[in-house]
C-alpha cells in the first residue's frame, strides 16, 4: 500500500515552501506530488525544484469542489504509469491542495474509490498555519478553520517573522484541534519524519501517546475520574464576534466504561452520519466492543465516510475504556452522548444483555 499524504493550509501559509524543502530531503526522494492550483495560471509547480516526472499539476479548479473526479483519475493514471515503468517507482504520494480547499471531499475521494483503495491508503493530513496572519485568517476564512480541524499535524510557518510567541494563535489551534501536534517550520525546514510518519492516521497510537502526556490528555478527558469533558475555544482577547467560525467547531470526547455492542456502535455511526454527516469533521476512536474484548477496534471517519474498523492485536495500555473523539461543527456533545446512551440501551434491551 502506498501512503497518501494531504498537505493543506490557507493561501500563503507556506505549503509550497514546505513541500519544496521536503522534496529535497532523501526520505522524500521517491515521492509523487500532485499540486492543485486554483487559477488560470499555476505557479506553485514552478517554484518546486524537482526532476522527477511523478509530478502532476491539477489546474482546472479547486480540488474540493470541481475536480474531485480529476483527482481520482490522476491518481489512477499515475499508478498506471508507475506500473508501466514510465515514472520512478514512488513509494509515497503527497497531494498539495489549493489554499481555498475544504480537505474533507479530498479525503473522501482517496478513501472512497474502490480502485484506489487497493493501492493507496491515507497516511494523514498536514496543515500549515502562518504565524503572522494565521489568527486573522481563522477569523475571516471558514476554510482555514476546517483545514485546521481535520489536521493530523499542524505546522506553524513564518515563525521567524513574529517577534514573540504567537500564544493566542497556538491556543486557538489547540482548542480547534487538540489532537494534532503543533510543529514549527522556519523557511520550510522541518524533520520530515515528524510530518508524515506511517502511523499518523492511527488514532490508537495518538490516543496512547496522549496518555503519556497528561498535560494534553487532561484538557480533553479531564482527570481519570472524569467521564466526559468538552473543550471550548479559548478566550483571551475580551470581546469576540459570536459568529466567529471556530465558535461553531467543538472538540469533545465520549468515554465508555462498559463494552459497547457492535450493533450499537454501527447504529450510532449511522444516525450520526444521517443527521450530522456534513458537520462531523473528524471522528476517531478506540472502542471496546463487547464481541471483541481483547482486540480493540479503531474507528475513523471524515463526515459520513468511515474506514472499516481496524482491530488492534491488543490494548495499547491498561486503559480499556472506549474513547470516541469528535471534532465537529454545530454538534452538541449532549446530542452525541444522548444518542449513544439511547441506542445502547435499546440494543441491550433487545438482546437481553446487561
Amino acid at each position: 500500500m502506498i501512503p497518501v499524504c494531504v498537505l493543506t493550509g490557507f493561501l500563503g501559509s507556506g505549503k509550497t515552501t514546505l513541500l519544496g524543502r521536503l522534496l529535497k530531503s532523501p526520505e522524500f526522494a521517491r515521492t509523487a506530488v500532485i499540486i492543485n492550483e486554483f487559477g488560470e495560471i499555476g505557479l506553485d509547480h514552478d517554484l518546486i525544484e524537482t526532476s522527477d516526472e511523478s509530478f502532476v499539476t491539477l489546474q482546472t479548479g479547486c480540488l474540493c469542489c470541481t475536480i474531485r473526479g480529476d483527482l481520482v483519475l490522476t491518481l489512477t493514471d499515475i499508478l498506471r504509469r508507475r506500473d508501466e515503468g514510465m515514472v520512478t517507482p514512488f513509494d509515497r504520494v503527497v497531494i498539495e491542495t489549493s489554499g481555498l480547499a475544504d480537505p474533507a471531499p479530498i479525503l473522501h475521494a482517496v478513501m472512497s474509490d474502490d480502485g484506489l483503495a487497493e493501492r493507496l491508503t491515507l497516511a494523514g493530513v498536514v496543515t500549515t498555519v502562518d504565524a503572522v496572519h494565521g489568527a486573522g485568517t481563522l477569523e475571516r476564512q471558514p476554510e482555514s478553520v476546517k483545514q485546521v480541524a481535520v489536521a493530523d499535524r499542524l505546522v506553524l510557518t513564518k515563525t521567524d517573522l513574529v517577534a514573540e510567541n504567537p500564544d493566542a494563535l497556538t491556543d486557538r489551534l489547540a482548542a480547534l484541534n487538540p489532537f494534532a501536534p503543533l510543529l514549527t517550520a522556519c523557511f520550510g525546514d522541518i524533520d520530515p519524519a515528524r510530518l508524515f510518519d506511517a502511523r499518523i492516521w492511527d488514532p490508537s497510537g495518538k490516543l496512547a501517546a496522549l496518555e503519556h502526556d497528561p498535560e494534553k490528555w487532561e484538557p480533553v478527558f479531564g482527570k481519570r475520574s472524569c467521564s466526559i469533558n468538552k473543550i471550548e475555544p479559548h478566550r483571551h482577547h475580551g470581546a469576540h464576534d459570536r459568529n466567529r467560525h471556530d465558535e461553531r467547531i467543538k472538540c469533545f470526547a465520549l468515554i465508555r466504561d462498559r463494552p459497547i455492542p457492535a450493533v450499537a456502535l454501527t447504529l450510532f455511526l449511522e444516525v450520526l452520519a444521517e443527521h450530522c454527516g456534513a458537520d462531523l469533521l473528524r471522528l476517531k476512536g478506540i472502542v471496546d466492543l463487547a464481541e471483541s474484548p481483547d482486540r480493540p477496534a479503531v474507528i475513523h471517519g471524515v463526515q459520513h465516510v468511515f474506514h472499516p474498523p481496524a482491530f488492534l492485536d491488543r490494548w495499547p495500555s491498561d486503559d480499556r475504556r472506549s474513547r470516541l473523539v469528535f471534532i465537529a461543527r454545530d454538534l452538541p456533545r449532549e446530542f452525541a452522548q444522548a444518542l449513544l446512551d439511547a441506542i445502547e440501551a435499546e440494543v441491550r434491551e433487545t438482546t437481553g444483555s446487561e
Binding site: M1, G277, P308
Partner: protein
C-alpha cells in the same frame, strides 16, 4: 400468580423500558437543540410529547414488531428503532434537512 423469578424478570424489563423512554426523552430534547429547531419535549409517564412550530408528535412504546409508535395528526405510525424514530421526527420538524448515509470506505485504516 406470577412466579417470583418471573416477577423479577418483568420488573427488570419494566425498569429497562422506563429507562429507555427516559433516554429517548433526553435524546429528543438534545436532537432539537442539535438541529437548531425551536420546540419542547415533555414526558408524561411512558409518553413523550414533542412540539415544534405547528407540529405535535406523541411518542410511546409500540406493539411488536414496532418498538415505538409516533402519533402525528391523529395517525399512528410504527417505527422499529430509535434510529427510525429520529428519522421520522426530523422529517416532520426539519423537512429541509438533507440527510447523508453512512458510507464505509473500501480503503484500510492503518497502513501495513
Amino acid at each position: 400468580m406470577i412466579p417470583k423469578s418471573g416477577y423479577r424478570f418483568s420488573e427488570k424489563i419494566m425498569r429497562q423500558q422506563t429507562d429507555t423512554v427516559g433516554l429517548v426523552h433526553r435524546l429528543l430534547a438534545a436532537s432539537l437543540a442539535a438541529w437548531q429547531v425551536t420546540g419542547r419535549v415533555e414526558r408524561e409517564a411512558e409518553r413523550i410529547t414533542l412540539t415544534a412550530g405547528e407540529q405535535t408528535l406523541k411518542v410511546a412504546r409500540g406493539a411488536p414488531p414496532f418498538r415505538w409508535t409516533v402519533t402525528l395528526a391523529g395517525r399512528d405510525r410504527g417505527v422499529t428503532s430509535i434510529a427510525g424514530l429520529l428519522r421520522m421526527v426530523r422529517r416532520v420538524v426539519d423537512p429541509d434537512h438533507r440527510t447523508s448515509r453512512l458510507r464505509i470506505a473500501p480503503s484500510r485504516l492503518v497502513p501495513p
